[in-house]
């Protein structure tokens, strides 16, 4: 189930009227999408579960704001992103990823095709929370750096720097994986 899965107008209306089963249906339709997104962004199962709960508590109090029922999934995704961003802002120091020492002395000329051998979570684990957020919001969600800067409370140029650094790290991670023959997670 993804955020693109439609949710019927009637189910949303029933939930708005206090129908527990209808709200349970909404939860079950989108829980996996919310959890996956939070996990990818935070790389922490406990934090992802907290976000899952937080998102559905927020949705519960904001259901009346839904205007376009056909875009319910997108609306919910936006709430999920905002919860994750709030979490990253509150826990920045704990979400450091691999420090620069892991990449010290390396050049960035490694072939990018080795990147294809890594799975998504192995790549994301090597980035800090902020780097993941900038990379995902810019590359996947097509936010502008200005929007990202405003969401994360940083400057636009800082967002660009973080984005560029995260791409460099991805490239380096792929290279380290290629030459060490070990999983990226083992650098932790």
């Amino acid at each position: 189930m993804s955020f693109a899965t439609p949710c019927s107008k009637q189910v949303i209306k029933n939930a708005l009227a206090g129908d527990r089963l209808a709200y349970g249906q909404i939860y079950n339709t989108y829980k996996q999408a919310v959890y996956s997104l939070a996990y990818r962004m935070l790389q922490n199962p406990d934090a992802a579960s907290d976000i899952l709960q937080q998102v559905f508590l927020k949705v519960m109090t904001r259901l009346a704001d839904v205007k376009d029922y056909s875009k319910f999934g997108s609306w919910l995704k936006r709430i999920a992103y905002n919860c994750v961003i709030d979490y990253i802002r509150a826990n920045e120091r704990e979400m450091t990823g691999f420090d620069d020492d892991h990449f010290a002395g390396g050049d960035y000329s490694g072939k990018q095709d080795s990147l294809a051998e890594l799975d998504l979570d192995s790549l994301l684990k090597g980035l800090s929370g902020r780097e993941r957020a900038v990379l995902i919001l810019f590359s996947i969600e097509e936010y502008t750096h200005q929007e990202i800067a405003s969401e994360l409370g940083i400057s636009e140029s800082n967002s660009k720097q973080i984005y560029s650094r995260s791409l460099q790290k991805l490239s380096q991670l792929a290279k380290l994986e290629r030459y060490s023959g070990s999983k990226v997670g083992s650098y932790e």
Binding site: G18, S49, F56, L120
Partner: protein
């Protein structure tokens, strides 16, 4: 530039290909239950002033009072021979007293109307408080170490302070986004 865009393209394709991660069963059950309980509570709040949340909080306060009484009892049992409390005991007493004051303050604030944004945060902090109360009850029941109890009282005070701060400035709290 072309190199960075090829890394970005590879990343995007990985993102699109990656399968969604299922919610771990334990987390799924507990989150679903707490979300649906909150949903019931939220809707019963609308229809009744004497809501389930009121009863829930009543039980939490009763448990808290129970713990306070027991903690004082244990404190006096644990007095040193010359009758004066030792250093850790004194810190514990201070923490318990602080807790009482914070609870009184919270009691005055908790029924005021809150925005939806504050409601979610309040719900989570109250949940945390109930969990700490239950840990405290366990610590006293099983005669846990003074250090553990002290730590729990500090946690409780921190949570109560957060709740009070949240509710005290409820009018000025605005969600920056949904």
């Amino acid at each position: 530039m072309s190199k960075t865009s090829s890394i970005q393209d590879l990343f995007i394709s990985k993102w699109q290909q990656a399968e969604e991660r299922p919610v771990p069963n334990m987390a799924d059950q507990s989150v679903e239950k707490s979300v649906l309980d909150a949903f019931d509570k939220h809707h019963s709040n609308v229809t009744s002033n004497l809501s389930k949340s009121g009863y829930g909080w009543f039980y939490a306060m009763a448990a808290s009072l129970f713990i306070a009484v027991f903690s004082w009892q244990f404190f006096y049992q644990g007095k040193s021979i010359n009758g004066a409390p030792s250093q850790p005991d004194t810190v514990l007493v201070l923490a318990i007293n602080e807790s009482k004051e914070l609870e009184t303050a919270f009691e005055q604030l908790r029924l005021q109307a809150t925005s939806e944004f504050v409601y979610v945060q309040k719900f989570q902090l109250e949940k945390e408080l109930i969990l700490i109360n239950s840990k405290l009850a366990d610590a006293y029941r099983h005669q846990g170490s003074l250090q553990d109890k002290l730590q729990l009282w500090h946690q409780k005070n921190k949570t109560l302070s957060q709740l009070n701060a949240l509710l005290a400035k409820t009018e000025s709290v605005h969600a920056t986004h949904i």
